[in-house]
């Protein structure tokens, strides 16, 4: 149950990233790096942060929380953790 919710969260994160990066979902993998591979620039990364906050109803994401996130897989993990943390 929890796993399927998490998988659903990850899929929604991936869809948002695909839209902002204007890439096909098929071009994305967990190892895709947000900046180097998907070419997200500073404004696109802000757009991504805001889109995640809105989509998952998260409290404001601080830059210090995201500075170690390099890949799409890490970002999905971050959102899953953020959501489960918020419910606790």
């Amino acid at each position: 149950m929890v796993e399927s919710i998490n998988a659903d969260t990850a899929a929604r994160v991936r869809a948002i990233v695909a839209e902002i990066a204007t890439r096909d979902l098929t071009a994305l993998t967990a190892d895709s790096r947000l900046v180097e591979d998907l070419l997200l620039d500073s404004v696109a990364l802000i757009e991504l942060t805001v889109a995640l906050e809105v989509e998952f109803d998260l409290s404001a994401i601080d830059p210090t929380e995201t500075q170690s996130i390099k890949t799409l897989g890490q970002l999905e993990g971050f959102v899953v953790d953020r959501i489960s943390g918020a419910k606790r």
Partner: protein, 557 residues
């Protein structure tokens, strides 16, 4: 000539800059308040012994303190060097390295920052090995400072522009450059006392700093300023500046117009009037006609006219602005180019001529929009590979001369695509002049715009070398502007076909579907280099266009 500091002596109490705070409220910092702030911060700089021509690096967010620090530096005779603060998803160690490289090149006397960034700036200064640089917290300035004006130095601004990774370059912009370009911008857009600027651009780059901040300040015009992240969160606040708060002028890249059109609902514009919004500079080439159409569609029912769009061309090496469509001239014209026949030094041909508002947005692909005519005092010529001037309607390199041409780079970069000589700037951009108007085709061979972001050939080469283990000397990337999004050519010397496929796949994975990728294999000597071993990308671009590159096989993706 405009004096950049005159306003400080008689600052208005009623006019000034309005900054958006974190509760989404606009707060006025009057010109009087900002002048006092500049004088107070200048006392701080004086205590740190800032002398004429000393560099003051600034790492501050958008806000009154940033403006105060800029003018305090100039009052003290120094040179400003505004730097990008850490960004979302940016690793601290990576940022420190990046900042340290710039600090090392800028050699500042002091760095002005605030408590948020102090620790990180401190470690960058240490990494850069700057022993003689003081770190100042802008909050330490004390009110009631006395105005002591030192004579201005020569260089007003050290503008660091992004280059390929690991290669920051600083452009030396003099006070005369700034005054001249600000004067030319005001004349171009017919800026008057009642004009009001609104912007969300970052203030550490030329378009935001010079176009949207310094120009209105030295002109004494009201300005509404928000941060990029505030624009992303609430794009309607930017539109409100025009529809409700009297804004008349702005500049933005394609993204800004497209994003606002995508995110803002017409309902939220109820009661707004955009009929006074008369200048919307489209400050990135190529102009994305579709994004502008969508923006017009959103705002036209509320009085906006596409007459406001002023496509423009400029670069930090020429201070900011070089050419642009004038507000009272016909709508920007567009040519449907015959991209496949585009060749350096050869006449350009097109199948149709139209204007920005008449290109069908669904079929906008293939159209190139005019960047207008040179501003007062500026000259644009098109040169061939040997530096000879080419006639109209012929493709070549854009060369810019005039009083806004900057003093050069912090360090000489003879191999760079953009380079200075005694008479002007070889811009590294390919273009042509048609009926006196400049059309910019794209960068010459060293980089390509991919979904709005610049991808450098050098960085792609490094990625391929890292992934495949192939020696970097045996592989080069040449970016080819062209039909639609353009294409990328990789050239390998005497490597296996499997390897070429791997390189092509890697590059394709980064640049994505709309960019064509070809990796060609040729014999030793195919890659053209300078005597110091730097690839001659432009020459290879020309050879490719004329079909003289000796490629035996190629992989196309």
């Amino acid at each position: 000539m405009i004096d950049l500091l005159n306003w400080i002596d008689r600052p208005s109490r009623d006019r000034g800059l309005r900054f958006l705070d974190d509760s989404s409220t606009w707060n006025l910092s009057s010109f009087e308040t900002l002048a006092h702030l500049a004088i107070d911060i200048s006392a701080l700089l004086r205590d740190a012994d800032v002398q004429q021509n000393d560099v003051v690096c600034i790492v501050l967010p958008t806000g009154p303190e940033l403006v105060g620090t800029i003018f305090s530096t100039w009052v003290s005779g120094g040179t400003i060097c505004p730097l990008v603060p850490p960004m979302m998803f940016e690793d601290e160690a990576q940022y420190v390295q990046h900042l340290a490289r710039i600090l090392g090149a800028a050699k500042p006397r002091v760095v002005v920052t605030d408590k948020t960034f102090r620790a990180i700036v401190d470690s960058a200064a240490k990494t850069a090995g700057l022993s003689n640089t003081a770190l100042l917290d802008v909050a330490d300035s004390i009110g009631g400072g006395v105005s002591i004006r030192k004579e201005a130095g020569q260089v007003a601004l050290l503008q660091f522009t992004s280059g390929s990774s690991g290669n920051p370059r600083g452009v030396r912009v003099t006070f005369d450059n700034l005054a001249s370009n600000i004067g030319a911008i005001r004349q171009w857009i017919r800026m008057g006392a009642s004009d009001v600027t609104a912007t969300w651009l970052p203030l550490y780059h030329d378009m935001g700093l010079i176009g949207c901040l310094l120009t209105p300040i030295v002109s004494g015009n009201d300005t509404w300023i928000m941060r990029p992240d505030q624009f992303i969160r609430e794009p309607v606040k930017w539109l409100e500046c025009f529809g409700r708060n009297g804004g008349t002028l702005t500049a933005a890249p394609n993204f800004g117009y497209g994003y606002a059109a995508r995110k803002v609902k017409p309902e939220s514009l109820a009661g707004m009037d955009f009929s006074k919004f008369r200048v919307a500079i489209a400050g990135a080439e190529p102009v994305d006609a579709e994004a502008l159409h969508r923006f017009s569609e959103l705002l036209a029912p509320f009085g906006f006219s596409g007459q406001a769009y002023l496509p423009a061309y400029g670069l930090a090496e020429a201070t900011l602005a070089v050419t642009g469509r004038a507000p009272d001239s016909p709508v920007a014209r567009a040519l449907k180019l015959d991209w496949d026949s585009l060749s350096f030094g050869k006449p350009v041909s097109w199948s149709a001529e139209s204007s920005l508002d008449e290109i069908d947005s669904k079929a906008s692909s293939g159209w190139l929009v005019s960047s207008g005519r040179p501003h007062a005092g500026m000259h644009v010529r098109i040169l061939d590979g040997s530096g000879a001037e080419l006639p109209s309607d012929t493709l070549g390199e854009i060369f810019v001369s005039g009083p806004a041409v900057a003093d050069g780079y912090t360090e000489p970069r003879p191999e760079a695509a953009t380079r200075f000589d005694d008479s002007g700037i070889y811009c590294g951009d390919a273009g042509f002049i048609h009926d006196g108007e400049l059309f910019v085709v794209g960068r010459i061979a060293d980089s390509l715009k991919v979904r709005g972001r610049t991808v450098y050939a050098e960085d792609l080469e490094a990625r391929v070398a890292l992934a495949t283990g192939l020696h970097r000397g045996r592989f080069v990337v040449v970016a080819l502007p062209g039909h639609g999004a353009g294409s990328i050519l990789g050239i390998a010397e005497a490597a296996g076909v499997d390897w070429a496929t791997q390189a092509a796949q890697l590059i394709k994975g980064i640049v994505g579907g709309e960019i064509q990728v070809r990796v060609g294999i040729g014999p030793r000597g195919t890659i053209q280099r300078t005597s110091s071993g730097k690839p001659k990308r432009r020459l290879m671009w020309e050879m490719n266009a004329s079909g003289t590159l000796p490629l035996d096989h190629s992989v196309d993706l």
